[in-house]
Subunit: 252 residues, 3 copies
């Protein structure tokens, strides 16, 4: 039974635009299967947030719940930062390989990683994994100029990143957001003015207002990250103009 | 094993007062069954929010999870507004009929629907469905005078609505709420002073403070809508004075 | 498959420090089993919030889901306060006995209970149960001086309490918190300066900022209460320096 009304086109998976990445901060396997039964078409990748993968009992089974249904999985960039700090990058690479992960996130939002080290990490990992690099601090007191963001984004692509993630945290109050939660619009504009293709960027947007703002300014196919699993379907409706916030933008 | 302490009377289902309507923004079927196992007695109706029903995989099975357990289901009013805008009302009516829904929500919170068209929609749908009409804008910048609310509520009843829902959104920041989240108390007073029976109204109250305020002012049996599924049992405890916020109001 | 990086030591269960108590406000049995499959090692006790146990269908089965997996259960202190008000303490004691609960919470955050009555309740219950007493009001307009907190905490221990819980509610805006959500730091300091051992206290800390503040000031093994079930794993990562907020405090 379907209701045929003209909805905007939506790229099919696998897609480079209109991607929705979830932040999983501790779901159980039944919750994952249950979510994917109703929403798998709306979800492209799931990040097991920060170091949660190290304290999750039954991690392999949990990862399998996603990958069996065609959803890619990666672990949070913070874990790789810690591993770098501890001098255990080799062990980490082995570990995610054995876990069967195909994606890896490289960030420097917490641990100070010299630019050349970050580039080297990206290059090395890009040989065996799809690398998503992340730019922006997790500390809301650290405000980086747009020029530095642009330089870092370009450096990460040069090193081999497939996609650059703009930091927003689970809270939407750091990185590309002011501590008030407001989007740093000037920052976004400068990045896009710097000849960086929008479909190579993913914007962390944990809250509906963030998602709506980004869709209004960058189109419904903007790549979004740090979406809460319970909002998967809600984000899909925003992209299609099925919720009041974007309905009149997308339908006439 | 039961603990016998004198709790306030609570109308049994089906009930016209003390109704609790949930807002489902994307639950899976296991989550629904799990919720109803512990809380079905506390829940009267579930709204599949806005247009989520169009992007939910396995929609029929999901609806069956509710109806098999005696919980009525309707789709969000925003979807009918979109359908009206697209000139597809006939297809929509067929579709909800085939889905087996017995309730329908008619609103004009997003799309501009002339008063006569809204009344006509209500009259037409009231022949085959229980019609809940909704009054109030979803845009927090639109503030409508109490006199206009009263007129619209009366018009909707005249057209055949069984119940009128006062808009609050998922956020509690539009319609009957100021954008600060505060309830428009004067508005509620004027509506109830206008000879509109309270048990024909349902108040969208997504947050605990909203629920507590309404119970304090209108009694524990006030009809509440847009309750989050995970708050089903919490709302029931508020109605019975089993949580600190209402305990001393209901027990001596 | 494990990744070996040196993580801080974490006491094993059963433990007197580093305890994490959850606030369950209405989970179903599948959700519980699902949570415990991934996180049981991180959880010490679950409180069935306020009077939710009285409106939960299938309560015995729900309790069994926890206890079968080695998680202790108690009901919210508010329920015992109501029972005290109604003069039904005997029936309550029988009831939790039949339910097989081994822990009980004694509070006076809502109902006015004279000091001698609270002490008597604690003494009586301590014969058959592990008693957690709670200190602090649930009313955000009630601000109690540190000296009175200290006196009440000592009185509760003298009466037989095993652990004293510092009130924070589900909201983190009453008791040990200002209504703005800020921790009453001076209060915490005065309590700890009064020769009260930290491992006999449990701090209600529903939000991440609360948890992080307490870990920074009192160490990663601080006992935390009113943690939301979905944050179980996130709290565990904070204790181990696996999330940005505490990573640099715990790793070098």
């Amino acid at each position: 039974v379907t209701l045929n009304i003209d909805l905007p086109a939506r790229p099919q998976k696998p897609r480079s635009i209109g991607r929705t990445h979830l932040l999983d901060k501790g779901l159980g396997t039944s919750a994952i299967r249950d979510l994917l039964d109703v929403a798998s078409d709306s979800i492209d990748l799931v990040k097991l947030g920060w170091g949660t993968s190290l304290v999750t009992q039954g991690l392999e089974e949990k990862i399998a719940c996603y990958t069996e249904r065609g959803i890619d999985v990666c672990v949070g960039g913070t874990l790789l930062e810690l591993v770098y700090l501890k001098g255990k990058v080799d062990a980490f690479v082995d570990w995610i390989g054995v876990l069967g992960l195909k994606h890896v996130e490289v960030s420097d939002g917490v641990v100070r990683i010299p630019a050349e080290d970050k580039s080297e990490l990206i290059s090395r990992l890009a040989k065996d994994f799809v690398v998503y690099s992340e730019v922006g601090s997790k500390d809301q007191n650290v405000v980086v100029t747009p020029a530095k963001w642009v330089a870092e984004i370009k450096r990460d692509f040069d090193a081999g990143a497939s996609l650059v993630i703009l930091e927003g945290r689970e809270s939407g109050t750091a990185g590309m957001y002011r501590d008030s939660g407001e989007i740093r619009m000037g920052l976004i504009d400068e990045i896009l003015d710097a000849d960086i293709a929008q479909d190579t960027l993913l914007f962390e947007a944990p809250h509906k207002e963030n998602q709506v703002w980004l869709m209004r300014h960058l189109g419904p196919h903007v790549n979004l990250g740090n979406v809460a699993p319970e909002d998967s379907i809600a984000v899909e409706t925003l992209r299609l103009g099925l919720r009041s916030d974007t309905l009149l933008d997308l339908h006439r």
